[in-house]
């Protein structure tokens, strides 16, 4: 131990004497370890971090197992009640469902994400409030006079300035008064990954706070929107709870009403609550695997750089190692000492990497993705915990050993006698070969990252140039829901109509309309029939007059919706070209009849161009449009086309809505182009991540090559001087050095391309119309790598041409 401390002390002393070396190695490792730690921080939040609740390991999330092994994690409230009754002997259960709320603060409604929870929710969590108390089952009933509410810690701090007197105060949510009973503890953000509700209210307050969320009457369908959680009673294991719930599932499956699934419901499975839901875990694991692989490759490049530097350093220390051996040090002792040095470097780099990861994750946490549905914004706590720090430590030590061992083993047996006599200036060809191998590996891995970046870039390029069938530029979208505010159909439709007229009158607005669903942000389907023939599930949207103009969706035949298409008038619809072709082949679609069920008929009045409305890379699918004016929906999304920046019109839109009802908040607000951009997210993320990793990897590989060529040139100074004394020109010397570097680059390109051909296939599903072996990318990537690598070689090679032959030969 005491000799280990001596090694550490000596290493620190020598490192501090070479601040530039320390800086370069620390920065290099910080990039590699920082990238892997950042990716792990995301994986930690997604899969590993337990919820901050009592005995988190025993809090379980339920999923229904559907036909053919599928899973569904959303439950309806009536189903939950049956599950709760079945599980009562063995477990406590609760549900939680997200809901946007309009919270009135200082007179203006603010849209916040909230959650309806069963009265059993907070007792199930087993947490202690930061202030006040939680509500329980007794306050989760239809007869409760005053609706209780619990604020999140962040909402309490930011929206109410941490005022303890907020407990017991009445606040206005969705235009109704609720009483704050307590504040959740710091760090508790509910049970949904990526969403941090600011307010929790009892689920039975839905008729008051969100009438639109009330369950359909028995036999009229099922609204599945709740996450169900269970905590086994003491001494009961999860399997017993799952078995009890599965019995209830089979009873539901055989149910006689609309909830029956006709044998599609196989049972219930339970997984640890928190993180990515079980239903999405496979996809999330795949994405994290790709990110982890990319970060791992970057770390390998960085670590190989360090290994190369350590080899060069060891070459300069041949004499010291020889002295130690002559003094009786064993080979293992030398290896230990050199490994200690490498490990110290990796630990310092690891500490810097953690700092980088903290910064990167704080940047990621600041990114606001436009939410969909009830989610106001996506929030994932990526702050480092002990697990992240442990990972960074393990990666630092693991990579340090993996990449430090070879240089240490290579250095442990110098030619002792020669080293003691000549001072160790001779170049070790074995070490140079090993260092060359590291550089070839770096170049190959760097090319692999570059190829991935290139493929994603091309995919993104193609994706953003996809003809969507509509023009998202210059369009503002904003959603509001009149459901909680007591509007009946006539009054609600009246407000919507008035708002649309007011918005159309705003300066800069060229067109405006409503739609129920924003393209690429959701999907609605209904049964469809044509001449008694079932079309199966048909995609549809409910839109108002002015919508097609606002979206610049081209009218092909007939007409768009207009004032004629009101409540009570003949039911009409517009179809897209694919629908016209598929449903009435060889006939004119305009004038045809479409049935939503055998009784309700709609006459087709127009045909519009196909649009991408579900997936970016889907083929054109049939789609129907029904006028909002003929079927009132309390929730609607304004689509406003403006001449300038669409966000500039937002305050005016808010003002117009406030003039009609000051309590109704706008949610999901933003330029349509940003929301549509979410559809490009996989390609964009891929391009950003692979691009950043590719550029950093290329830079590190170039530094590695630069160092190697510089080292070789320094070792061969005498030879170069001799060649020049014998008549070699600068060009001859330059070519000599570059030829040797060129061989390494060529090897790196061949290996990297071969690896790329195999590895990029796993990206195929994310590449949106670009082949995983895209010829352009496989030509440009190697060309970029070769150019940068040869430039990195040229700089030290040029030094060799500046030698004074006589001086070199005299000084040796």
């Amino acid at each position: 131990m005491d000799t280990l401390w001596m090694d550490v002390r000596l290493t620190l002393r020598t490192l501090l004497k070479s601040p530039l070396f320390l800086l370069v190695t620390t920065a290099t490792l910080a990039l590699g370890i920082g990238a892997t730690t950042t990716v792990f921080s995301v994986a930690n939040a997604a899969f590993l971090r337990p919820l901050p609740v009592r005995d988190a390991g025993r809090l379980l999330a339920a999923s229904e197992v559907t036909g053919r092994g599928g899973m569904a994690s959303d439950f309806s409230y009536p189903d939950y009640l049956q599950y709760a009754a079945a599980a009562a002997p063995v477990a406590d259960v609760a549900v939680s469902g997200l809901q946007p709320f309009g919270l009135k603060l200082e007179g203006a409604p603010v849209s916040v994400t909230g959650a309806f929870v069963s009265g059993s929710f907070f007792p199930l969590m087993g947490i202690t409030p930061a202030a006040g108390r939680f509500f329980g089952p007794a306050e989760d009933g239809p007869a409760v006079a005053q609706v209780p509410a619990v604020l999140s810690y962040d909402a309490w701090r930011t929206r109410f300035a941490g005022d303890a007197a907020v407990v017991g105060r009445t606040i206005v949510v969705n235009g109704r008064s609720v009483t704050v009973t307590g504040v959740a503890p710091k760090g508790f953000t509910g049970v949904f990954l990526g969403v941090a509700p600011e307010i929790w209210v009892p689920i039975q307050s839905r008729p008051t706070l969100a009438p639109g969320m009330v369950d359909p009457a028995p036999g009229k369908g099922r609204r599945s929107w709740l996450q169900m959680l269970a905590r086994p009673h003491a001494g009961v294991d999860a399997d017993r709870v799952a078995a009890a719930l599965s019995v209830a599932a089979r009873r539901l499956d055989r149910g006689a009403d609309e909830t029956q699934r006709n044998g599609a419901l196989g049972g219930v499975r339970l997984d640890r609550a928190g993180g990515v839901p079980a239903v999405a875990r496979g996809i999330a694991l795949g994405v994290m695997g790709l990110l982890g692989a990319a970060a791992g490759l970057l770390l390998a490049i960085a670590a190989a750089n360090i290994a190369g530097m350590m080899l060069a350093r060891a070459a300069g220390r041949r004499r010291e190692i020889a002295i130690r051996l002559a003094m009786g040090a064993r080979g293992g002792r030398i290896v230990r000492q050199l490994l200690t040095e490498t490990l110290l470097l990796f630990l310092v780099g690891g500490a810097a990497g953690v700092a980088l990861a903290v910064w990167l994750t704080s940047l990621v946490m600041r990114i606001t993705l436009p939410g969909g549905g009830p989610i106001d914004r996506v929030f994932v706590d990526l702050s480092p915990d002990l697990r992240v720090l442990g990972f960074a430590l393990a990666v630092s030590v693991g990579a340090g050993v993996a990449f430090g061992l070879l240089p240490a083993l290579a250095a442990r047996r110098p030619e002792v006698v020669d080293a003691l006599k000549d001072g160790g200036n001779a170049a070790g060809s074995r070490r140079t070969r090993m260092r060359s191998a590291f550089v070839v590996g770096q170049l190959a891995v760097s090319l692999l990252l570059l190829l991935s970046a290139g493929l994603f870039q091309r995919a993104l390029h193609r994706a953003v140039r996809t003809d969507l069938g509509f023009d998202p530029r210059g369009v503002l979208v904003a959603t509001f829901d009149l459901g909680p505010y007591g509007y009946d159909g006539a009054r609600g439709a009246g407000l919507q109509r008035q708002l649309l007229e007011r918005v159309r009158g705003l300066p800069g607005v060229t067109a405006a309309g409503y739609a129920r669903v924003v393209p690429l942000m959701g999907r609605m389907t209904t049964d469809g029939f044509v001449r008694g023939r079932s079309l199966g599930q048909v995609d549809f949207n409910r839109v108002s007059d002015g919508y097609f103009a606002a979206m610049r969706i081209g009218l092909v035949r007939g007409r768009a919706f207009d004032a004629r298409d009101r409540e009570g008038a003949p039911r009409v619809m517009v179809v897209n070209e694919s629908a016209a072709r598929a449903w009435w082949p060889g006939e004119a679609a305009v004038g045809q009849t479409f049935n939503e069920d055998p009784k309700t008929g709609y006459q087709v009045v127009g045909v519009v161009r196909d649009t991408r409305f579900h997936e970016l890379d889907e083929p054109s699918l049939p789609q129907a449009f029904f006028p909002t004016a003929q079927a009132y929906q309390p929730e609607a999304t304004l689509h406003v086309r403006t001449q300038g920046d669409p966000e500039a019109i937002l305050p005016a839109v808010r003002r117009e809505l406030a003039a009609l009802n000051p309590n109704v908040p706008l949610v999901g607000v933003g330029p349509l182009s940003r929301q549509v951009g979410l559809a490009f997210l996989p390609q964009r993320l891929g391009a950003i991540v692979a691009g950043s990793f590719g550029i950093v990897g290329l830079l590190l590989a170039a530094i590695g090559l630069y160092g190697l060529v510089g080292y070789v040139v320094a070792q061969r100074t005498r030879e170069m001087g001799l060649r020049m004394a014998l008549g070699a020109t600068s060009g001859n010397v330059l070519r000599l050095v570059l030829r040797e570097a060129g061989v390494l680059v060529a090897l790196g390109v061949v290996l990297g391309s071969a690896a790329g051909l195999g590895a990029t296939r796993v990206l195929a599903s994310l590449l949106f119309g670009v082949s995983a072996t895209d010829a352009g990318t496989f030509l440009i990537g190697p060309a970029v790598l070769a150019t940068v690598a040869l430039l990195a070689s040229y700089l030290p090679a040029r030094r060799a041409t500046k030698l004074d032959p006589m001086l070199v030969l005299r000084t040796g």
Binding site: E320, A322, A329
Partner: protein, 246 residues
């Protein structure tokens, strides 16, 4: 005069060393027979390329003979593992080099302490040994200095302290004055002489006849062979070193 000696400390019997470089064979040592008794002070002299350093490397277990037998303290070294050889170098051999070969990043104290750390000796015992050795060479006032802060003569004295700190059976010195001016060279030779008087066994490579005269015995190597083996001291001196004069 015949001698029935106590066991020799070093015994080489027919030792040869051949270096192979590509297709060229270089015979650095050729059938060398040599015995060194405990307490003997032997100078190994000869021209450059004669095999002096190769012989010293073999004696110091830094290299192995191609053929022949080497007994150190009566034990053959040919079958020793690398670990055993390291242990013997550490405990039984002290090296003094022409270029001092101190480690620049270690202080005087740490340089002298270095071989002792490889023994697993306690810090307290190491301290005692280091200070004793430094006192012996008159360098206790420079314990916290780095080699670059010392003169050549001082560096070589530190190197001598490092060699004797572990109380080895034998000191191997390779041109210990080669990098020193005559004053410092004489001082180092005086130091070796003093160690010899106290009983140390010393083998010193030198090509300087003035310094070879300090030893009681001179071995001349030429083309890898011992061409002359001379003693410069009387029988009484030999007896003192364990020889029996018949």
């Amino acid at each position: 005069m015949t001698e029935t000696a106590a066991s020799p400390l070093i015994s080489l019997d027919g030792v040869s060393k051949v270096f192979y470089t590509e297709e060229v064979e270089t015979h650095a040592l050729n059938n060398v027979h040599l015995q060194v008794m405990p307490g003997e002070y032997v100078a190994i002299a000869g021209p450059s390329g004669g095999g002096k350093t190769t012989l010293l490397s073999i004696l110091g277990l830094l290299d192995s003979p191609t053929s022949g037998t080497y007994l150190l303290d009566g034990k053959p070294v040919s079958g020793l593992t690398a670990t055993d050889r390291a242990r013997i170098r550490n405990r039984e051999i002290g090296f003094i080099f022409q270029a001092f070969n101190l480690i620049g990043d270690l202080t005087v104290y740490e340089n002298v302490e270095l071989p002792l750390t490889y023994r697993g000796m306690s810090a307290g015992e190491r301290r005692t040994r280091v200070m004793e050795a430094l006192e012996r060479v008159g360098m206790t006032h420079r314990v916290n200095h780095y080699p670059s802060q010392l003169s050549g003569g001082q560096q070589q004295r530190v190197a001598v302290a490092r060699a004797i700190g572990g109380k080895p059976l034998i000191l191997l010195a390779d041109e210990p004055t080669g990098n020193l001016d005559s004053t410092n060279g004489e001082a180092v030779m005086g130091l070796l002489q003093e160690l010899h008087r106290d009983g140390a066994t010393i083998c010193m490579v030198t090509h300087d006849p003035r310094y070879a005269e300090h030893a009681e015995r001179s071995i001349h190597l030429f083309d890898g062979q011992v061409v002359r083996d001379e003693r410069s001291e009387g029988a009484a001196e030999l007896v003192r070193h364990g020889f029996e004069v018949v």
